[in-house]
Symmetry: C2
Subunit: 444 residues, 2 copies
């Protein structure tokens, strides 16, 4: 007779090939399971680790998410996430996929059939776009003025691109002229650029760049992880050939999905490939059959994440894109006014290129970055982001994305920040931040 | 003055650079937003598609998930998915990551530090393992006796492996001898094999194969998507070097995460790489810093999916692995007895290699595959799977995974199937299936 497990979890295995398990379930006391002869295919005896601590159930603190994403989640989105799971080929889920695609097309302002949600986070969407557009040896330009442009360059190199990295300092954006010069020099198949650089708060104008790219017969790939749902991302009007985003920024859904869209020129380039896409998981050729009319099984889509995105998109469209963009702009302007009154300035080089949903500001001299963010989190439940890369310790990144772009968040944050700065011995004019933000709100 | 949008969604943009938005929110009537001069950075006028249908909110039918996964979800897992989202570097989420890792180690029966959940579904886990272990030109053997072994071969080819495909017909498993012969012939760095082939219901014994693989100095990579949490997957005892699974099978969580584990030999092989991993998103070198002690930002983990997995793992360990494996075995034996009484037999070649959690059976002659599955779904809410690949139209795949492995599911399914077969003019002995299953339950 073998004995499996030890301590409170025991299982006996007799020579007669029958098995009896005595299991003390923590919640319901002793459970007796026995299996008759033949009903049982011998299992390998296993050792059970009885020292494993019993972890408490999930019970997160309620945060105000004013960092670089995830952003605040509307309760109806959380509720959708908890709806009953159905199969990935269930007629109900196929309908959800259709509706998610239709709503994503509206948010992307495109008629691209190949518009869908990749089963991974924004970086998976980035990789999906790059590996499907680039074959080993293909020429690409990656425009790098922050962490995410740099990431795109890394992804492109791994995909075997003959890469030209076009660099600008963090916080700056690219001019049409320098893009044109780089195109003439490198003659790329693809130019990748970040619309809203989450690491710096800079907004990249795209309309004229798109003309230059297409005049040269190249494809324009755009990172709109942070802009989609908070700023116009007009795929068709601007002529963007491929774009990717994330669920957890201005769309207001938890992280886990990456909306992508591919236009006709991008699909043509994929059809003309001579090598298989390096990634099976992200191969658009196969995903087209799953998200397309065939609904051919590819992988098991994250059902409940798609429920969440569905509801988040419903809220976006119910509010209306125009009103939503104006709301992001409004709260950004109030925050900016409040911060200015507290002597805090934006780190983006050109003030016309400040993102409304990601406010990157210089940390005042002599103020402890981490101490302030800790106090905001622990005393007020407010999360803001620290700087990334060369901006680490130098900037804060204050998100006003989706549900988080609200009067209450702006005013509470300014009031809380006043307290945190005072704790650092940097006392701003009392009430000045809130007063300036309120003035801005009353003007409108 | 420009007018944005049309129909019920309008926005005016005056020459004075101020903007007024009239937005009829579907739910709350007219909302007026106006932004004063300077507060507003002009947005591009956009066209809004007013013909977009208003989709109803998420309200899925309640299914009994007895297909190849996803499986039934315990209400406490759904509730965890809806818990408040926190930031991906929030101290609370870091604790959740730690606990998920600790519990995954227990379920995998390993002490591997590099045990974690990849932010994608099972196929992303497969790709993660392959692309991190294989460099272009590395020799690999992929054992293919079903759809998922075939998928691994495809992933390996894309990763540039010098690949030997070792094939067996669907429903069969590999002998130690043929693996040994193949190793001698191909001298691989990695041998990939599927523990529980979801497309055929076949269970691959691994213990002796592991010895042969390691005697040859190779690495053993195992797909345990369907087995983890329902059968012993003893990573350390068997000596598996790398393995991947999925959240939506016997672990009882919705799809969206892929638990993986890497042992010391696998990590050594990664450290000795001379090329960057083809995938940025799945690069274990970087994920080690995010899931390791550094917690260095890599990507934004799917927070709420990890909440769900955390609760699912709590339930697995609360039940106890031994009791859980015995439960899967018990209900499999009752289902098998019931099906036998209805004249339905298993498609796995060797009856000792039938998976308890995935019952692949021959569709009786003259019975319409799709009609039966539709009737089960529409009249009883029961989902089962059809055959994949060469088994399409020939087999049904009946899942008893996680929460779905229950007496109620087995008895209801047998009773419902009787009705569906009768609708096809194939009337089994009335009540025979349920009677045989009940007899098996009463014996135990």
């Amino acid at each position: 007779m073998f004995l499996w497990g030890k301590g409170s979890r025991k299982c006996e295995f007799s020579v007669s090939n029958s098995v009896t398990c005595f299991e003390r379930r923590r919640s319901v006391g002793i459970v007796l399971i026995s299996l008759a002869e033949n009903a049982f295919r011998p299992l390998t005896p296993i050792e059970v680790n009885d020292s494993l601590p019993s972890f408490p159930p999930i019970n997160p603190p309620v945060r105000i998410l004013m960092g670089p994403g995830p952003s605040d989640i509307h309760p109806s989105v959380s509720a959708a996430m908890a709806a009953p799971t159905v199969g990935h080929l269930d007629p109900y889920f196929l309908k959800v996929m259709d509706e998610v695609q239709t709503m994503l097309r509206e948010v992307f302002q495109t008629s691209n059939k190949m518009t869908m949600a990749i089963s991974g986070t924004g970086s998976a969407g980035m990789e999906c776009c790059v590996v499907n557009l680039i074959e080993p040896g293909d020429r690409m330009i990656a425009c790098q003025n922050g962490v995410f442009g740099g990431r795109m360059a890394d992804v492109a190199e791994r995909a075997g691109a003959d890469l030209l990295k076009l660099e600008r300092p963090f916080g700056e954006v690219f001019s049409v002229e320098e893009i044109a010069t780089a195109i003439e020099k490198h003659k790329p198949k693809v130019i990748g650029i970040v619309h809203a650089e989450t690491s710096t708060g800079a907004l990249q104008p795209l309309e004229e760049i798109s003309k230059v790219v297409h005049d040269a017969g190249a494809l324009l790939l755009v990172d709109c992880v942070t802009s989609l749902g908070g700023l116009p991302v007009e795929i068709d009007k601007i002529g963007i050939d491929a774009a990717y985003s994330g669920s957890q920024k201005c769309l207001g859904c938890p992280p886990g999905l990456s909306p992508v869209t591919f236009g006709p020129r991008a699909l043509e380039a994929m059809d003309a490939r001579t090598h298989k896409v390096a990634s099976w998981y992200l191969d658009i050729g196969m995903l087209r059959n799953y998200w397309g009319a065939d609904r051919a099984y590819h992988h098991t889509a994250p059902i409940n994440m798609n429920y969440g995105l569905h509801q988040a998109l419903r809220l976006v469209l119910e509010e209306g894109l125009v009103a939503r963009f104006a709301r992001h702009q409004l709260h950004h302007s109030a925050l900016k006014a409040g911060l200015a009154a507290m002597g805090i300035s934006y780190s983006v080089a050109d003030p016309n290129c400040s993102l409304p949903m990601l406010n990157s500001v210089w940390i005042p001299e002599g103020v402890d970055d981490v101490a302030v963010r800790k106090q905001l989190l622990n005393e007020f439940g407010i999360e803001i982001g620290g700087g990334l890369g060369p901006m680490k310790g130098k900037t804060w990144r204050i998100g006003l994305m989706g549900e988080a772009a609200s009067k209450s968040n702006v005013l509470l944050f300014l009031a809380a920040l006043e307290q945190c700065l005072a704790a650092q011995g940097k006392i701003p004019e009392p009430g000045a931040g809130v007063a300036s933000a309120n003035k801005r709100y009353l003007e409108t």
